[in-house]
């Protein structure tokens, strides 16, 4: 087993303003290496925006989002430090999966041989020579994950990684993530599947309306769903409040 450089994630006072919308407000939390941290919040809570600021895709209005103490843009080999699968990680439908991964391997700075290894790791070896247009949602998730793992990164940022996976796929993903965390990697994953999250993560960060609601061990929350609903209760209108 190769030694992984422990690489914490640190978010401090992070704020993003899109026009008049404050998507993220003075968010502060840390993510530790060697553990799986669930990043939870209702739709529009600011999870994706936060992940995107961590990855240098969105410019913060204020605050810092650091990976191993550095902003993403300053990492010398970003894809060898951080592997990311976002909701908008895509592949050209006319391109074969293996070619897609070879292109990524080249810019990641790893040899083409890593492509076959990553395909094996995510169970895509058989389908790697097919065009991505024919892939199911679950296979696309696996392809995204293979791309993220190419650089053998010490940090993984995953946006809804269980989306489209069948029950067997989810169990497989859970095992894979646990193994990767046990090797000392830092894993931050967002999800809406609370029962799945409860089986997968060690730590939880919950945000609502761009603000931090909770950061700490899963065990401190008791029942995850009940705690989540209580912490993110944002004056949702009930039916009788509607005109």
């Amino acid at each position: 087993m190769r030694t992984i450089q422990p690489t914490p994630i640190s978010v401090h006072g992070l704020t993003k303003q899109f026009g008049r919308l404050r998507a993220v407000q003075e968010l502060t939390f840390d993510v530790r290496p060697g553990q799986i941290t669930g990043f939870l919040g209702p739709n529009g809570a600011g999870k994706s925006t936060t992940l995107r600021m961590l990855l240098g895709l969105v410019r913060p209005t204020a605050g810092a989002a650091l990976i191993g103490g550095q902003p993403y843009r300053s990492l010398p080999h970003p894809r060898r430090t951080v592997g990311a699968v976002l909701e908008t990680t895509g592949a050209h439908p006319g391109r074969r999966a293996r070619d897609h991964l070879r292109i990524l391997a080249q810019v990641t700075g790893v040899p083409d041989g890593r492509v076959a290894e990553a395909c094996d790791q995510v169970g895509l070896a058989e389908a790697a020579d097919r065009r991505v247009g024919g892939y199911s949602l679950g296979m696309r998730q696996r392809l995204g994950l293979a791309g993220a793992l190419l650089g053998d990164p010490s940090v993984l940022l995953l946006d809804e990684p269980a989306n489209g996976l069948d029950p067997a796929g989810m169990a497989w993903l859970r095992g894979l993530l646990r193994d990767l965390a046990d090797e000392g990697r830092t894993i931050l994953l967002s999800s809406h599947l609370l029962s799945e999250v409860a089986q997968t993560v060690d730590q939880v960060v919950i945000i609502n309306q761009g603000r931090l609601r909770f950061a700490g061990p899963l065990d401190d929350l008791g029942d995850l769903e009940a705690s989540f609903l209580r912490l993110t209760d944002a004056h949702q209108p009930s039916l009788k409040d509607l005109p």
């Binding site: 990855l55 895709l57 843009r73 970003p78 292109i103 990641t108």
Partner: protein, 242 residues
């Protein structure tokens, strides 16, 4: 930078769309040349041959669309996220795309020029005459056509970076060429020769080109290419990828 250029080439090699688009080029040139020479044109006039080979420049519309897909195509298929994650200094990505697509635009232009000369020579020979290869206008038109293809490929890259929605970028380009430039010309007569597409027409010595010299057209188009590229670079570096 070498690895970024190699990566851009790999991206192009592994899909079919761009090549199908460019493959239409020589076909359109042949059709254009045939149309020019068939309609009772006076084949003894050196001007006729120049007009025929000018189709190499007309087809630079395809080079423009090819360029547009460089950045806008990556947005369309959501590969831009991975591309920028690998190279957070986005200016380098855009620069690599300029290099690769402009070069391919030039090679494409060269291919069109060769096709145009051969098609024109064959058509004139079939008529019992022969193409006068000492005609300087012919070669100037061909050279302008090649330059047009390179420049419009580069302008396409800029346009796709400015308007990342692929369909909107292509629609904007076509509307500009077919409509907007003509309307501006009608409103302000003196401005018309100085607009981007008109300068391309002058450079490629297309029929209906404005009354400015080929050199003036070429310089103008080069200026537009550089200005658009600078705007595309600055906006790409600042844009939030959501």
């Amino acid at each position: 930078m070498t690895s970024l250029i190699a990566s851009e080439l790999r991206k192009l090699r592994t899909i079919r769309g761009p090549w199908l688009l460019l493959a239409a080029g020589p076909v359109l040139v042949i059709v254009g040349v045939a149309g020019e020479l068939a309609g009772g044109a006076d084949l003894t006039q050196p001007q006729t041959a120049s007009h025929a080979v000018a189709h190499a420049g007309v087809v630079s519309l395809l080079a423009l669309i090819f360029g547009i897909t460089a950045v806008a195509g990556e947005y369309r298929h959501q590969t831009i996220t991975d591309t920028y994650l690998a190279t957070p200094r986005r200016g380098r990505v855009i620069a690599a795309k300029f290099t690769v697509h402009t070069t391919i635009g030039a090679v494409f232009g060269l291919l069109l020029a060769v096709t145009a000369v051969i098609a024109t020579a064959l058509a004139i020979t079939a008529n019992g005459d022969s193409l006068d290869l000492s005609n300087r206008d012919l070669w100037r038109t061909l050279a302008g056509g090649v330059a047009c293809n390179a420049a419009f490929a580069a302008i396409g890259v800029s346009l796709g970076a400015l308007i990342p929605n692929l369909a909107a970028a292509i629609a904007t380009a076509l509307a500009w060429i077919a409509l907007v430039e003509g309307l501006i010309g009608e409103l302000i007569d003196d401005l018309e020769p100085w607009l981007p597409f008109a300068s391309g027409q002058a450079l490629g010595r297309l029929p209906g080109a404005p009354d400015i010299s080929q050199w003036a057209g070429g310089l103008l188009l080069a200026g537009y290419t550089v200005v658009f590229a600078a705007i595309a670079l600055t906006t790409s570096v600042r844009r939030d990828i959501t």
